[in-house]
Symmetry: C2
Subunit: 138 residues, 2 copies
DNA sequence: TTTTTTAATTAGAATATTCTAATTAATTTT
DNA sequence: AAAATTAATTAGAATATTCTAATTAAAAAA
């Protein structure tokens, strides 16, 4: 197999494991995998309305309404009626819901610390340069 | 924020996106998120028995029995009675189930190709060296 | 301004996911 | 060998997840 691809596979696995252990650190155990998926999508979409969320997740609007009601009940999400269109409800994460981002940050911080402990300053500089070049491509 | 941590966050997001688009390429749409999670865990655990899978996933054995029965029905998984302990059933992915790995491979291959298109040979060599050093630490 | 469309919700049903309690069958301990 | 333990399953119930169809309310089109 392509060596680079193999390296990526190992790194990818490590990231997934760190994310999973971060999930345990934070109190997201009370949520199902599906509910986590709703939170992740709301987070990525930046306050979508219900129709946008349903479209993005490939589900019907009634399904999303019901699922969101549960997340509102659990205080991870709240709705805000749009001013431009009073029919539309925008979805926001509560402070509790925003812990999702702190959870991700924690996983990334752990990986960063591991790298810092493995590399010397020059190596870190080179690694950062290369990865930045990659991320800023196009 | 720590620059390295930020780079990791962006890279992590890219990997997640590539994995998600790979999932669409392969025919894993007929599975729920939860069912995918079962397959992923069986894959990681390398043919666990039912008790091991239940323990790893933090679920009860009856729950896992029922869930696995559905995945067997859909032909993603099969059971093999252990020779050492005839009570124990080891779980294996079928060929169809193993597409899961090809799906991951596909995502990793896409990322590798993107990197190859961004970096020249020297940069690739350095990047691979650094990441290998990281992965072989400890 | 009446009609049509659109965003969200409610109602009700089907399937999925999980649990506890009880059962079956094989292994281990006494 | 009998008793206790263990792996898996079955039965039955509770909750979660999703759908279609119908409803409400607001916006857009005629």
């Amino acid at each position: 197999m392509n060596e680079l691809q193999n390296i990526i596979a190992l790194l990818s696995r490590e990231i997934v494991e760190l994310e999973e252990s971060a999930k345990e650190q934070f109190s997201f155990n009370e949520l199902t995998l599906t509910q986590m998926h709703y939170l992740e999508t709301i987070n990525q979409q930046q306050n979508p309305n219900l129709t946008e969320l349903a479209l993005e997740m490939g589900l019907t609007k009634p399904s999303v309404t019901v699922a969101i009601d549960k997340l509102i009940e659990k205080e991870y999400v709240y709705k805000v009626k749009s001013d431009e269109d009073r029919r539309s409800m925008h979805l926001h994460l509560t402070e509790k819901g925003k812990l999702l981002n702190q959870m991700h940050d924690y996983a990334h911080k752990l990986l960063a610390e591991r790298m810092i402990s493995v590399f010397d300053d020059d190596e870190l500089t080179v690694l950062k340069q290369l990865l930045k070049k990659y991320l800023n491509r196009k």
